[in-house]
């Protein structure tokens, strides 16, 4: 069965510092990969997704993620964090070739940004 691991429950960074959020998945092949962000009281917003091709994916709000097949990882990065980036971040995988469309989510990483 598919599973998604986000090893860091909570990360704290200073504003302007770089950020990397880790995500590892367990899947028989290369799945579709997603990063979502959830601000307090809000639904989830898609940051970026990987389907195929270039393993470095650019998303909204200056985020990027790199798919590494050998490590089964899809880590999210941002070179300079802004205070408004404080939120919870979720990595998710979707079945390639599936007609079901359900997503499997990690438990999330809470990001705190210090001024």
């Amino acid at each position: 069965a598919q599973s998604v691991t986000q090893p860091d429950i909570h990360i704290t960074v200073s504003e302007g510092a770089s950020l990397e959020l880790r995500c590892n998945y367990s899947y028989g092949a290369t799945p579709y990969l997603f990063w979502y962000v959830q601000s307090p009281g809000q639904g989830l917003q898609l940051l970026l997704k990987y389907f195929s091709g270039d393993t470095l994916v650019q998303g909204i709000k200056g985020f990027e993620a790199e798919f590494k097949r050998s490590q089964s990882s899809f880590n999210l990065r941002k070179p300079s964090v802004h205070w408004s980036d404080a939120a919870e971040y979720f990595c998710a995988v979707g079945d390639r070739g599936s007609t079901l469309g359900r997503l499997y989510f990690g438990r999330g990483t809470q990001l705190t940004v210090w001024p």
């Binding site: 898609l46 979720f90 390639r96 469309g101 359900r102 997503l103 990690g106 438990r107």
Partner: protein, 115 residues
């Protein structure tokens, strides 16, 4: 355009009572998903609908949970005889079709508290 909407935003109920949660998907989206987000947990898939096909109920935690989707649009998630462990945020998402890589758009959620 309008996103996914959910009502109520918050619901407080007494143990043993029934509750109904509503989701209005994005117009034209044929696939609709319900997820549950419990404290300290990731997002747990509950059920999904694709067009007029029979729903995939594989994620429903017990027979107290049911959902319907009328006219291929609005969906209602019903929890009968609520228990305290049902307290969570219930998120609805919709996508153009149910397919592994399709982007899901999430509503703001309904926060349910069972006393």
């Amino acid at each position: 355009g309008a996103g996914v909407s959910q009502s109520p935003s918050n619901k407080v109920t007494e143990k043993g009572k029934d509750v109904e949660l509503r989701c209005d998907p994005i117009s034209g989206h044929t696939a609709l998903y319900w997820y549950r987000q419990s404290l300290g947990q990731g997002l747990e898939f509950l059920i999904y609908f694709q067009g007029n096909s029979a729903p995939d109920k594989s994620g429903l935690p017990s027979d107290r949970f049911s959902a319907e989707r009328t006219g291929g649009s609005v969906s209602t998630l019903t929890i009968q005889r609520t228990q305290q462990e049902d307290s969570a945020v219930y998120l609805c998402a919709s996508s153009l079709v149910a397919r592994g890589g399709e982007t899901q758009y999430f509503g703001p959620g309904t926060r349910l508290l069972v006393l």
